[in-house]
Assembly symmetry: C2
Homo-oligomer: 366 residues x 2
Amino acid sequence: MDYASAGVDIDLEGAAVASLVGALAKSVRPPGTPGAPVDLPGGFGGLIEFGDHLLALATDGVGSKLQIATMLEQWGGVGIDCMAMNVNDLLCVGAEPIAFVDYVAVPKPDPTIHAALGASLAEACRLARVTLAGGETASLPGIVHELDLSGTALGWLPKGQAITGEHLQEGDVLIGLPSSGIHSNGYSLVRKIVEHAGLAYTDAAPFDPTHPNRSLNRWTEGKPSLGEVVLNPTRIYCNPVVDLLNAAREEGGFNIDDIRAICHITGGGLSNLLRLHPSLGWDVHAPLPVLPEFDWLQKAGGVETREMYRTFNMGMGMVIAVRAEQANTVLKWLGERMTGVQIVGHVRNHGHRVTHALEGVEFSHY
Amino acid sequence: MDYASAGVDIDLEGAAVASLVGALAKSVRPPGTPGAPVDLPGGFGGLIEFGDHLLALATDGVGSKLQIATMLEQWGGVGIDCMAMNVNDLLCVGAEPIAFVDYVAVPKPDPTIHAALGASLAEACRLARVTLAGGETASLPGIVHELDLSGTALGWLPKGQAITGEHLQEGDVLIGLPSSGIHSNGYSLVRKIVEHAGLAYTDAAPFDPTHPNRSLNRWTEGKPSLGEVVLNPTRIYCNPVVDLLNAAREEGGFNIDDIRAICHITGGGLSNLLRLHPSLGWDVHAPLPVLPEFDWLQKAGGVETREMYRTFNMGMGMVIAVRAEQANTVLKWLGERMTGVQIVGHVRNHGHRVTHALEGVEFSHY
């Protein structure tokens, strides 16, 4: 199986997005005024000017992971997923997330769902250290079959201190931050594989999901169910990445210029790294351990290894590229705050491609 | 007919939203730091601290108006609707909108739809004078039947200069700003009435839609179709309201304290005014002329007058409450920039209710 056969036409999506973007005009807000756009490679978060600061917006939804949550009536993690997808993107430009708004669309209002979403969003705000500054709940029976959840996060940073990737150079060290599970991408393929395997999400997971780099968000007793594993909430990297950025900007030991690039591993898997620089390459020669659900998904779905790394995070949800001289200092700093952080590779001048310890895992297109 | 019989259960929606809000915790961001929440009556836009400024976020979608646009394959106005619903809310707290992000959910990507949305959002950015700082297009065949479109707007204002309604007093003058049509609320009822009337949206409008306070966004030649009237884009009030706020803050003639409250007339119609003050009343004794589509909808649907004013804007999309001494100055200023602006009533100390020139149009609950 592969992602495209799960019903996701990446080319068609690309063409559709290109149509939308192509129709957009330049901003009417002139440089130097609040709201003027700031161009930045990578495109994780949209930056605008605001006096001595830059503000960043990110907007994203939870996607088809929601369908599994709705089927199981377990919405306790989806607010965290929604938050994570947005704030993790803001971190990539060096912004500190400060506020969030949610958009909920349902066929009809359901206090049970909304109470669960509220609790999940409150937990997400605590984890991401942001204010929930508003939200909208829309009842749209003619438009949605079932719950859709998206949101927008706002972040800020001092002007001139964006993480842009422009200072990346050969030899920079890649530090990998472990993921908590599948996060919020690739669920069309997950659902297809689970269906193909003839399993219910309420069945016990057909593998041992225990892993030192993460804990599971449980709602049953006993052996973890498949649903508990695949719905485990996306990791929010604000802690420790915001603190890392602040330490780099304020305290010395390492400098903000030492943090060369930050990459949120989302849909597209490792190929996301290619967004950060137009010509340099990325060699992930010492990858983080693969979480057990990915091994099972690959086997149960007969998915090629390369396709797995192009669809899923495979155990690494964020990559921070650091100047080689400071790599051990930053690694130690991060390691004191998060379990499982390790040096996973280096920036190389071997073409605009991602290479990997596993043969055949190589990407030259995002 | 009424709004509830069109399938919208306002009480259930209220209970659902209360469940969500009730589950939310206080913000973890302490007062005085970027992102700390700022409490404000009315609740149109969510305000947070940001140094010497306040930032405001608003999030909203187009709702079931989209179903008519999709049926007619006419998406040219829905980006403007989406922008308007958000930026008009920001204006109510005295914020200048500066950036916007959109969220598009479709069952599958369609370059035709996305190109139309892109063009519509570009036009909306121009009208609202904001930067499109990002967006997300999600393909969710299991979640949405057809296009859903929502967005989030970011605005700013100087600290201490929010429009809060707290200085409202008896005798303040209400200036009404004309709407361009039905805007983006009440479409469940619109659709039910059109169906009941046995009309197609491609039929010629069964009334003369000409009105000096607005022009129609046309896509046919000849007599305007019913679809062209009901899909006319929501008016974006940034021009002239942002300029009004700037003039009040900078130039003198009138002062920001003279602008006592601003109300975006959305779902709930005139009852929205009750959100602005906990005890004062609102007497709309000289209303703006009703747009012809509302007269037709009322007659064709047999809708009670009070229900019309609780569901639709009836020709007035925004109300600005101004200190009596400055009312004529502000009216003249606005009148030079927008056709059809007039004094529509006064703030009164006659209980926490809205009264109106038409008997029976009275609201004491939002």
